[in-house]
Symmetry: C2
Subunit: 323 residues, 2 copies
Amino acid sequence: MTRRPVIAVLEGDRPVRGLERVARLADVRVTRAAGLDRALAGADVLYLWDYFSGALPDAWHAAGSLRWLHVAAAGVDKLLFPDLVASDVVVTNAHGIFDQPMAEYVLGAVLHAAKGFGPLRDAQREARWEWREGRNIGGSRALVVGTGSIGRRTARLLRAVGVRVEGAGRTAREHDDDFGRVHAAEDLAAVVGAFDYVILLAPLTPATEGLVSAAVVAALKPSAVLVNAGRGRLVDEDALVARLQAGTLAGAVLDTFAVEPLPREHPLWSLPSVLVTPHMASNADTWLDDLAAQFERNLLLWLDGRPLPGVVDKALGYVPSTA
Amino acid sequence: MTRRPVIAVLEGDRPVRGLERVARLADVRVTRAAGLDRALAGADVLYLWDYFSGALPDAWHAAGSLRWLHVAAAGVDKLLFPDLVASDVVVTNAHGIFDQPMAEYVLGAVLHAAKGFGPLRDAQREARWEWREGRNIGGSRALVVGTGSIGRRTARLLRAVGVRVEGAGRTAREHDDDFGRVHAAEDLAAVVGAFDYVILLAPLTPATEGLVSAAVVAALKPSAVLVNAGRGRLVDEDALVARLQAGTLAGAVLDTFAVEPLPREHPLWSLPSVLVTPHMASNADTWLDDLAAQFERNLLLWLDGRPLPGVVDKALGYVPSTA
């Protein structure tokens, strides 16, 4: 490479971090969505710090020299549009950065539901001392849907506190290191009924959209709790709401929704057995600095022509698990 | 023993369980508080199924033949009155039954605070999508005050998820199996400042009352969270409230209070950074059946003249740890 590489950085409301060292290695063009096409002209790399931006398709005409796109997020469902998928551009994501906060969120969600902290919080706001029993999670059964790095970390954390975990992924298998048994996602309706906690951590792809269909929702046992920290559109939300409203499902803890922010009039807001969190499961402590450090590490590898971690399989729509 | 032993059972609002097999081994007299003295006359054993009852002192004049008292609870602070302490009556508690639910409650409390589920729940009730970051608990530091069986189970559970745990007990020591380092409770003010989570699981005794004094409360670091699942009177509640109201302490999760039920006008109810739960940390799943089975096991041992588990040291006010 005879010239310095050019990196376009799409910033959003949250200022981009950690560009000082990057700027010693490359020409950096920080832009907002409105200037993305100008920043992309002649750029070798696009760094999507604003991971929710939908600005790329409109600027794609200027991306002719682009070779690598890194997104500071785990899910790439909003990013993968047909021209990008068809192109030779390598796409990497923030593989691994969110494993710990996501796993902890899920464990916290499971305990929140088991101990009834939601209804207790509601009672607190009205100064009501209303005794109720909790449930133990030790010995309970959890199904983790999604066997990528986040699902694996979650499985290990749940197992560490005595939850009996199995997995669900594209293909059924036995003797997985983290899950033991992995069920085929297509068999969900037949297997979910055995689990106390059903935990969604799968990416949103054409293959997983609506995976938790009305039939799967119907197969959840009445005492079950659904945790969704994957994507809202994995689930038939109407079917879920109907069971929760009918009181035939113990509860749900939801961090992702078909439409975000969750519309003010949505019935999920007001169901006492539901905890709604605003798509924050992956965000804790040093995540912004971790994202910045990860891009810098990746850039050094890329400049050396070495393999990048976290390469998205654009046909599948996620980073295939290495385990 | 030539006659069948007589067991007085103090029932409360919650019907006593598991007396069928007990009744094959002994004459059983189930009573409410009002009839306790009549039931105690000639009784060998008193089984306090209603563990919160304060009826015993008034009926004690009839307890002349009593040899063993079992209480279906962990804390005996409300039970130990001077005549009982001075007597030869052996007191046992529900040692071990509450270890798992209590440890899970504490882990759930720590995650509840770390992930900000309380304020998120409050936002939910108003249909407000209000993004906020969580904190990771992996790598954080917790101090467990109370090194009995509940404290030990809690320490193991927190360690299993990557929390760095130390303990505080009567005497300082190193190399404890569950805690590593155990600090002397009298040094609390000097040590609490190093911890992200300070977790109270000590019994209430003359030695522990007010252990978390105003000075100890003042020494908590601003980002710290206090979890109290021990007894309310371990803590200077006024000092705690003052720091929480001033916003100089991250939060608290409280299951026990100086006065229970917590009075409606108490400021703890309305502090957003506090989760108030109604003394339920120890109650989950099969606890009532577990309590019943434990008494039956103990009775078989007692009838055989064998040592009982969970014997309370009446001078100390709790079951000394065997670890």
